[in-house]
C-alpha cells in the first residue's frame, strides 16, 4: 500500500475525468506540433523555392556571361586614351578632347609588352574654320596604325592607312557639298591638297570631318609632337571587368592618362547581364521578403491559435480538477484525519495531474511521430524534431500545463479546513 497505488486506484475509479484531462493535454500539445509542422513546411518550401530561383538566375547570368566572353573574344572593343587632365565632360560634349599629351606616348605603348591591345591610332583633333569654304570642320590628324613592336610586323591589313602629306580625306558632307572627288585639288587653310579618299555617309560626326597627316595637323594647330587622343582598337579581354584590367595595364606604362571605353556590343551584353542579375536578385529579394512576411503572419496566427487552445485546455483541466477535488473532499478530509499532511495530499492530487500531462503528452508525440513524416514529409519532421526547444517543450510543456492548470484548485483543497468537510458531511 502506497501513494502510487492510491493514485492509480483513484484514476481507475474516476477514469472519465482523467481521460478528459489527458485529452486536453493531448490537444494542446498536438496543436502546437501541428502548428510547428505547418510553419516548418512553409519555411522549407520557401527555402527550396529560393534555391531553385537562385539556381535559375545563376544559370541565366552564367549564360549571359558566356555570351559576353564570346562576343568580347570575337569582337574586341575599343578604348580612348586621353591626357590625365582632360575633362571628360568636354569630350562627351564636343566629341574630342581639348588637352594634349606627348606623341611619344603612343611609342611607349607600342614598344611595351602590352597584351590586351591590338591596334594603336594616335590622333590630334580640333574643330577649325575652313576659311576657303567659310564653314567649320573637324580636323583630324592621323598617323596611321602604330605597330606593337614585340609582336613583329603586322601581317594583317592595317585598320587605317596613314594619310600621305599633301593628301586630304573628306567626310561625306564636305565632298558632297562642294562636288569634290578623289584626285581633285582643294585649298585648305592656304595650302593645296589632293583629295585621296571621300567617305560615304556615316550619319556621324565623321561626315563633317577632314583627315590629314598628323605632323601636318600638328603644324597647322601649332601643337608639334602633341596628340590629344590614342584610339586603341580591338582590345581583347575575356574578364568581365575588362576595362579595369586594361586600365591597370595601360596605367603601368602611361600613368598620366585617362581611359574611357567606346560603346560596343560586348558592353551592351554586359549591361544586359548586369540588368538580368539585378532584376533576378530583386525578384528573389521580393519573393524572400513576401515569404518572410507570410511566415511571420502564419507564425503569429498559428501560435496564437495554439495559445488559445492551451488557455482553453488549461481552463478545461482546471475545471476537471475542481470537479475531481469536489468529489474527493470527504476523501481529503478523511486522509487529513488519519494523519496525511498537506504535502502528501498535494502529492496525491498532483500525481494524478502529472500523469494526465505525461500520458497526454506521450500520446501527442506518438501521433506526431507516426503521422508527421507521412503528412508533411520527412524534412519537416526532421526540422521540427531536430530542435532543442522541441525536446524541451515536449518534455516540459504538457506537465507544466497540467500542473499550472490544476495548481489553484489543488492549493485550495490542501488549505481547506478538513473539519468543514468532516463536520458538514
Amino acid at each position: 500500500m502506497n501513494i502510487r497505488l492510491l493514485v492509480f486506484r483513484e484514476i481507475r475509479f474516476n477514469l472519465g475525468g482523467f481521460t478528459a484531462g489527458v485529452l486536453a493535454i493531448f490537444l494542446s500539445l498536438i496543436s502546437y506540433l501541428i502548428a510547428g509542422s505547418i510553419n516548418a513546411d512553409l519555411r522549407i518550401n520557401t527555402s527550396k523555392k529560393l534555391q531553385l530561383m537562385n539556381s535559375e538566375l545563376n544559370e541565366e547570368v552564367t549564360a549571359l556571361e558566356d555570351g559576353i566572353r564570346k562576343s568580347m573574344k570575337g569582337l574586341g572593343f575599343n578604348i580612348y586614351i586621353y591626357p590625365e587632365n582632360q575633362d571628360l565632360s568636354a569630350v562627351y560634349e564636343r566629341g574630342y578632347g581639348d588637352k594634349t599629351m606627348p606623341e611619344n606616348y603612343v611609342s611607349k605603348l607600342a614598344n611595351s609588352k602590352i597584351i590586351h591591345i591590338n591596334h594603336l591610332l594616335p590622333r590630334l583633333t580640333e574643330m577649325v574654320d575652313w576659311s576657303e569654304k567659310d564653314r567649320s570642320v573637324l580636323l583630324i590628324g592621323v598617323r596611321g596604325e602604330v605597330p606593337i613592336a614585340y609582336r613583329g610586323p603586322n601581317i594583317k591589313k592595317p585598320l587605317i592607312n596613314p594619310v600621305k602629306e599633301g593628301s586630304i580625306v573628306l567626310g561625306y558632307e564636305l565632298h558632297h557639298a562642294y562636288g569634290l572627288k578623289v584626285g581633285d585639288k582643294v585649298n585648305f587653310l592656304d595650302d593645296e591638297y589632293t583629295v585621296s579618299i571621300t567617305h560615304k555617309r556615316r550619319g556621324t560626326v565623321d561626315d563633317i570631318s577632314l583627315w590629314m597627316n598628323l605632323s601636318l595637323v600638328q603644324k597647322i594647330l601649332n601643337k608639334e609632337d602633341k596628340i590629344n587622343t590614342i584610339l586603341a582598337l580591338e582590345c581583347n579581354c575575356e574578364s568581365l571587368d575588362r576595362l579595369g584590367e586594361i586600365r591597370n595595364e595601360i596605367h603601368k606604362i602611361l600613368p598620366e592618362t585617362k581611359i574611357i571605353e567606346k560603346e560596343s556590343r560586348a558592353l551592351a551584353r554586359a549591361e544586359a547581364r548586369n540588368l538580368t542579375k539585378f532584376t533576378g536578385e530583386k525578384q528573389i529579394q521580393n519573393f524572400l521578403q513576401s515569404k518572410k512576411e507570410l511566415i511571420h503572419i502564419q507564425s503569429i496566427f498559428s501560435f496564437g491559435f495554439v495559445i488559445i487552445i492551451c488557455i482553453l485546455c488549461s481552463f478545461w483541466i482546471s475545471h476537471l480538477t475542481i470537479s475531481n477535488i469536489n468529489q474527493r473532499l470527504i476523501e481529503i478530509g478523511t486522509f487529513t484525519a488519519i494523519g496525511f499532511g498537506g504535502k502528501k495530499i498535494m502529492i496525491l492530487i498532483l500525481s494524478r495531474v502529472l500523469l494526465m500531462g505525461l500520458i497526454g503528452g506521450m500520446l501527442a508525440v506518438l501521433l506526431f511521430v507516426i503521422t508527421c513524416p507521412n503528412v508533411f514529409g520527412y524534412d519537416v519532421y526532421k526540422n521540427v524534431t531536430n530542435n532543442f526547444s522541441f525536446i524541451i517543450i515536449v518534455l516540459i510543456a504538457p506537465l507544466t500545463l497540467a500542473v499550472m492548470s490544476a495548481w489553484i484548485p489543488v492549493l485550495r483543497a490542501v488549505l481547506k479546513d478538513p473539519v468543514d468537510v468532516l463536520r458538514n458531511d
Binding site: R9, I330, A337, G339, K343, L422
Partner: protein, 231 residues
C-alpha cells in the same frame, strides 16, 4: 463510573482538555463548547451522549487535533498539540489517534483491505498482515476483503472503518456516532470491538445521541448546551 483498575493503573489521564471553549458564526455568536474539561484515561471506554448540536463532534475534533479551541488547553500524553505545527499535528493524529465517523468515510476506490491499510500510510509503515487478518476475522469482514465500499452494507462499512482506526494501534480512538446508522446486531459488534480495544491498552472516546450505550462503557458523560453533567 470509572473502573477501579483504571483508577489504580492510570491515575494520570492520557488525554486532557481543560476549560475549552469553541464558538462558531459571525462574532462567535454560536457558543458550542463553554469552558468544559474532560479527561480520558488509558484503557478507558468513555462515552458522551447528548442531543444533536450540543457540541459532541466539535469536542471530538478538538481532541483529535483537527480544530483549535478558542480557549482552554488540550494535552495528549502531556503535550499540547496546538502548540505544534500543522504537519506535526498530522503526525500526532497518525501515531496517537484513530477516527471513526458515523458515515464511515471510507475511500470509495479502495477495497476493504486497502481502506484498512491506508491509515498506516502516513506512518510510512506496511501494515502487519497478521493484525489485518485478525481484525478482518474479529469484525467479520473476511469474505468482503476485496470489495469496495459501494458493495458493502452499512454494518460492513462501519466495521471496515473500525478496522481502519485500529490497524495502527493508536493510543486512543475517537468515535463519532459509530452506531448511528447501524442495526442492533451491527451495533453490538461495533461496541464489542471498541470495548475489546479499550481492554487492550487503548482508550476510546465515543459520542452518540443514544443514551443506551452507557452500559457498554466505563464512564458516561451527558452533554447539553456546551457543558457536561457527569453521571
Amino acid at each position: 463510573m470509572i473502573k477501579e483498575s483504571n483508577l489504580v493503573k492510570n491515575i494520570k489521564p492520557f488525554v486532557t482538555a481543560k476549560k475549552i471553549s469553541k464558538s462558531y458564526g459571525n462574532n462567535n455568536s454560536v457558543v458550542v463548547l463553554n469552558n468544559i474539561s474532560i479527561d480520558l484515561f488509558r484503557e478507558e471506554f468513555l462515552s458522551i451522549s447528548g442531543p444533536s448540536g450540543c457540541g459532541k463532534t466539535t469536542l471530538l475534533m478538538i481532541l483529535g487535533c483537527l480544530m483549535n479551541p478558542d480557549n482552554g488547553e488540550v494535552k495528549i500524553d502531556n503535550f499540547n498539540p496546538y502548540k505544534k505545527k500543522s504537519s506535526d499535528r498530522a503526525k500526532i493524529r497518525s501515531e496517537f489517534i484513530g477516527f471513526i465517523f458515523q458515515d464511515f468515510k471510507l475511500i470509495p476506490y479502495l477495497n476493504v483491505m486497502e481502506n484498512i491499510r491506508c491509515s498506516a500510510l502516513p506512518l510510512g509503515q506496511i501494515s502487519d498482515n497478521d493484525k489485518l487478518e485478525k481484525l478482518l476475522s474479529i469484525l467479520k469482514l473476511d469474505h468482503r476483503r476485496l470489495h469496495v465500499p459501494s458493495q458493502l452494507s452499512a454494518g460492513e462499512k462501519q466495521r471496515t472503518a473500525i478496522a481502519r482506526a485500529m490497524i495502527t494501534s493508536p493510543r486512543f480512538i475517537l468515535a463519532d456516532e459509530p452506531t448511528g446508522n447501524l442495526d442492533e446486531e451491527n451495533t453490538e459488534i461495533v461496541l464489542k470491538a471498541l470495548r475489546d480495544y479499550s481492554n487492550n491498552n487503548g482508550s476510546v472516546l465515543m459520542v452518540s445521541h443514544d443514551t443506551n450505550i452507557e452500559c457498554f462503557t466505563d464512564r458516561h458523560l451527558k452533554m447539553s448546551a456546551g457543558g457536561f453533567e457527569e453521571k
